[in-house]
């Protein structure tokens, strides 16, 4: 909302310097977006009077004028031939800059120069050059009584400052979309009482009598729920012409284009009061129906109906739009924009002025659907007071009479506005919420300054908001007003007191921290990637995109789906990082994924919190790693799980695993079944680890040494973990032996390991530590492999003798032979 300080000052006095006022507005009213200082813009430009006019002797299109500024007579050459002796115009003297070019890259500075043999000292300015209206064809003839030599800025209040306050702040303040509303607040924050203009209060109501031959208009409101108030006035004998320059210049400087006196008056009143008005050409409306008298119907659109608006756009109004129509034709999109077919133009003689109240939600919906954000729509969608529609209409009638020669052709009864229902609160309630110690009298003054009516009875306050404050409904609203008008900066502030409970965060938080720290300690890099992915990404991974939630208003196709797993996003980051010069790295992400198959008890999508990991080494770096890359990802996972005290992890080959959960199937799709495993802990399948399928490696330009995993952290979190894996130190020495088994190839490493572990369990006082030393396959015997374990034995109670150990080992070898067909090498 751009406000003109000059206009504000018509309603209240401001004695602060501009900077201080702006700071105060920022602290107590709303954020100031911009301050435009116009005070130097028309510097030095004077009102002058033409005293002689004659054609240029050497040029057809030029004229030579003599003018006076009261001190001297000066000759100016102008292309405008229609200036007459006695006309007043604005003179830009040599050395002065054309106002509209000030602050641009090409400021135009006037000079005295000869034009075809006649001296021209500066120029007479057009409305556009003065930034008063858009007319650049003609010199602006001034409608001022000011004596020649008066500064133009003085004559038309041009030495103004425009303060642009963020609209967002006024979302709940419809009154502040009018200058009167803002002026009232500026008075309030300066601590001084504000008095609305008499015409706005209209306390006693009023009756405007017809001053011309009566003319009827039939108004039929078919949708009173959406349009609770629809008031019109008919005025005849209208003379459409440019508005007084003062009005034009006030509109122009706050960004409203001057059009003609009728339209300008409606816009000016909207700008002053917040109440949008519209003027229709009465005769055009009647002619649409081939009728003598106009008829207005407020209704919903008919099927297939179209309407061409004032801006030239033709729309097919949506089914709930509020239309203003003649008997047979739509003539306006109610509360948003008028129709082109009933526009006021220079031939208009009779007008219908509309001042209505439209439902704010319906206005917003229509405005959004058709993408029309007019000044009227902005104001109506904030919920203007219904009461003020009649009042502003009455003022419009007066101004049309003064500036457009219009006479009222209908009798207009204007009822006094009803105040809003009173709000009861008390001093304590307000002080409790603000932490302040204000007295009833102070509160009363703050509120009455902005024209609330306050009744104080001891501690009790009864506040009656004025009709324009549609936002004030509950006691908390009054708290806000008091705090703001008093100044939040003035409030005492101290920390709240309460019992000091120890807080414990949800334990998943600690798990996430532990994972991130552990993996970073193992030399890996944590990434975060978007939750939104392109459908294309799932094409590259071969995953189904149907179970993914789809954004209907995505910024781009790149951000259309909500990811169903984390690994694809990470896969995309591998190649660019190799290209950027990183030869080998481990990257991980802790994040969320969603899919349509997993719905929680609250009927919302279940949020999968997951961990994704990829290890990748490009050719050169891959030389340091031999064998299947699977084991590199596994090394990091095993480290992580052991740091988390998760002991019982199992790896089930993916090609022999089966599972029903969609999220797990979805992840499994990424992996090469022969080189991947399901991660199982305590019988729970937590995720999948492995090498990626060939197609994925190709699609993501992955090097050959790459592997990764993804697992579900909520499931992991659900597994009981020992608080500590500490083992007491033992007094007796340990003994260590390497043992190598030759086993058939299909026997797995874990088969052997489990057998070894089992073979020692009968003595719980024996501490057994088993470490893999080597896994070996002879080139000439691919049916077998050899695994060497280092077995460390230590007893709680005694030193183990060699023969004791030998008995244990022999027993192990026998069991291995029986169960696994293993032979000791």
């Amino acid at each position: 909302m751009k406000i003109s300080l000059k206009l504000i000052q018509k309603f209240t006095s401001v004695d602060l310097p501009v900077e201080a006022l702006v700071a105060k507005i920022g602290a107590q009213l709303g954020a100031v977006e911009e301050v435009i200082d116009l005070r130097q813009k028309h510097y030095g430009i004077e009102v002058v009077k033409i005293i002689e006019a004659k054609p240029h002797p050497n040029a057809d299109r030029l004229n030579v004028y003599q003018m006076t500024n009261g001190r001297e007579e000066v000759q100016v050459v102008s292309g405008d031939s229609e200036l007459n002796v006695g006309d007043k115009v604005a003179w830009i003297a040599p050395g002065q800059t054309v106002p509209s070019t000030k602050g641009t890259s090409y400021p135009v500075v006037m000079e005295a120069r000869e034009m075809r043999g006649e001296m021209s000292n500066g120029m007479f300015a057009s409305g556009k050059e003065l930034d008063i209206n858009d007319d650049h064809q003609r010199v602006l003839k001034l409608d001022t009584d000011a004596a020649p030599g008066t500064l133009l800025a003085e004559a038309y209040e041009l030495d103004d400052v425009i303060i642009d306050i963020e609209n967002k702040m006024f979302t709940h303040r419809p009154d502040c979309f009018g200058v009167i509303g803002v002026a009232r607040e500026i008075a309030g924050i300066q601590g001084r009482p504000f008095h609305s203009p008499q015409w706005y209060l209209l306390e006693a109501g009023g009756l405007l009598r017809a001053t011309a031959e009566p003319l009827s208009v039939k108004v039929q409101n078919e949708i009173p729920m959406l349009v609770p108030a629809y008031n019109v006035a008919i005025m005849r004998d209208v003379r459409v012409q440019p508005s007084p320059i003062l009005i034009q210049s006030h509109l122009k400087r706050v960004g409203i284009r001057p059009i003609n006196n009728v339209v300008d008056i409606t816009n000016y009143l909207m700008y002053v009061s917040g109440q949008p008005l519209h003027a229709f050409d009465y005769d055009k409306v009647a002619a649409l129906d081939n009728a003598q008298t106009a008829e207005l119907i407020i209704r919903l659109p008919h099927q297939g109906e179209t309407l061409t608006l004032l801006d030239g756009k033709t729309i097919e109004p949506h089914s709930q739009a509020m239309l203003i129509a003649s008997r047979h034709h739509a003539i306006g999109l109610g509360g948003i924009m008028g129709g082109a077919n009933s526009e006021v133009d220079e031939h208009t003689r009779t007008i219908i002025i509309e001042s209505a109240h439209f439902d704010m939600f319906a206005i917003r919906r229509t405005s959004m659907i058709h993408g029309i954000f007019s000044d009227a729509a902005t104001r109506f969608s904030k919920g203007q007071s219904r009461e003020q529609a009649r009042i502003v209409l009455a003022k419009a009638v007066t101004l049309m009479g003064e500036h457009a020669n219009a006479n009222l052709a209908t009798e207009l009864g204007i009822e006094a506005p009803l105040p809003a229902p009173p709000i009861k609160t008390n001093v304590q309630f307000i002080n409790d919420r603000l932490g302040s110690q204000l007295h009833a009298a102070e509160i009363k003054k703050l509120l009455t300054n902005v024209e609330m009516s306050v009744h104080v009875h001891q501690d009790q306050l009864t506040i009656t908001p004025p009709f324009w404050r549609t936002d004030l409904e509950i006691a908390e609203d009054i708290v806000e007003e008091v705090g703001r008008l008093h100044g939040y900066g003035e409030l005492p502030h101290e920390l709240p007191l309460r019992p000091s409970h120890a807080v414990t965060n949800p334990s998943i938080e600690a798990l996430k921290t532990a994972i991130s720290t552990t993996l970073a300690t193992a030399g890996n890099n944590e990434l975060q990637t978007y939750s939104f992915i392109p459908a294309k990404l799932l094409e590259k991974t071969g995953q189904d995109d149907k179970p993914a939630y789809r954004l209907r208003n995505a910024l781009s196709p790149e951000l259309q789906l909500i990811r169903t797993s984390l690994l694809p996003s990470l896969l995309e980051k591998v190649h660019p990082n190799h290209k950027a010069g990183f030869d080998d790295f481990g990257m991980f992400e802790i994040g969320k994924s969603h899919n349509k198959h997993d719905i929680g008890d609250d009927q919302l999508p279940r949020e999968h919190i997951g961990l994704s990991y990829i290890f990748s080494a490009e050719k050169k770096a891959a030389k340091d790693y031999h064998g299947s890359p699977f084991y590199q990802a596994k090394k990091h996972l095993a480290y992580l799980l052991s740091e988390l005290q998760l002991q019982n992890s199992m790896y089930q080959p993916l090609h022999s695993a089966s599972f029903d959960e969609w999220w797990l199937q979805n992840i499994a799709l990424l992996f090469e079944p022969k080189r991947a495993a399901v991660i199982v802990i305590n019988g729970l399948s937590l995720g999948v680890i492995g090498e990626f399928r060939q197609a994925i490696k190709r699609n993501f330009k992955l090097p050959s040494f790459v592997s990764g995993f993804e697992l579900d952290l909520l499931m992991l979190h659900g597994i009981n973990r020992p608080a500590s894996a500490y083992q007491p130190l033992l007094r007796f020495p340990s003994t260590e032996q390497d043992i190598c088994f030759k086993i058939p190839k299909m026997i797995t490493y874990s088969d052997v390991l489990q057998l070894i572990e089992k073979s020692f369990v009968d003595d719980e006082r024996l501490r057994v530590t088993i470490t893999p030393v080597d896994i070996y396959q002879r080139e000439n015997d691919i049916k077998h492999k050899q695994i060497t374990f280092r077995i460390n034995l230590q007893h709680h109670d005694r030193t183990l003798t060699t023969s004791e150990v030998n008995v244990l080992i022999d027993r192990l070898v026998l069991q291995a032979a029986n169960v696994l067909r293993a032979t000791k090498v």
Binding site: R498, N505, E526, R550, Q694, Q777
Partner: protein, 340 residues
Amino acid sequence: MSMKDTITVITQTLKARLEQLENKRDILKAPELKQLYNAMKQLEPDERPAYGKAINELRVELEQLVVNHEDQLSTALIEPIDVTAPFDCNVPVEKRPRLLTVEHGSRHPLTTEREIVASIFNRMGYIVHDSRELDDDYHMFGALNFPEGHPARDDYDTFMTDEGLIAPAHTSTMQNRILRWYKPPISAVVIGRCFRNEDLDPRHEHTLNQVEGVYVDKKVNAGHLLATLQSFLEAYYKTEIEFRTQPAYFPFTEPSFEFALSCPFCHKKGCVICGQEGWIELIGCGMIHPNVLQEGGIDPREYTGFAWGFGLDRLVMMKHAIEDVRYFQSGKLAFLKQFK
């Protein structure tokens, strides 16, 4: 024979030949393909686009068949491994899988900062929760006193799924849950990812992280709110700060403010980080609207509370003077490895 028929016939021929070929890739050099391309010149100009498209499609199809075949071949060559083993067969000790060295490792700066912020609020007695990334209209708007169709919703450009679920634009989407989960006195912080429908540039991201605070008890006032935020910021920046407030409008707080702190980097002298202002506008906050308390099952006549929200990303950017917010989600190791 029409051009279309020619293409159909050649397609069948080439597919049949592909079956026989030893080196499948040779099919892409087939003379028939070349002839098809050459024939283009003899066509009328208006026929060329459709024809060109048809032969390109054929080429792409053949290429896909070749690639699929190659994948099958290389997949067939893949030996199954013993997934239960810690390392592969016949791998010498020095080439076995190993952890990377610790100096390579890095944690994401947003993770680290989240923990720092969480830890301060923990010390102040606030429990820390995560937010949701996909929520319903009720939690994002309805429970927060945004009536359906209210213009206040315009200030929150939310992403919405086909089903009408919302990718929340603020962590306040958790506020109603916090109010319902705990009984007053409540002191909780929600830190999580949220989303704004805005175009990307060095200062704007559609994905961001927010820190939301909720405090509810008897006799809580706006002064408590201001002092709490000041106390947090002084602990965070390890320096004294001043603050100032600006009235604001949020439907879920009444009254509402914007909280600005004196720049902790230059102490109000003006610097690059505060844009020479000496002040940094950081936090939207206010007293929780009685309708929001009511909706959270708390009697607003008995209890009052305050809430705030600020951007975590902005804190991190200011702290390290990061020039582009998009780096956070970029996955660039050159960026990430600088944060230990």
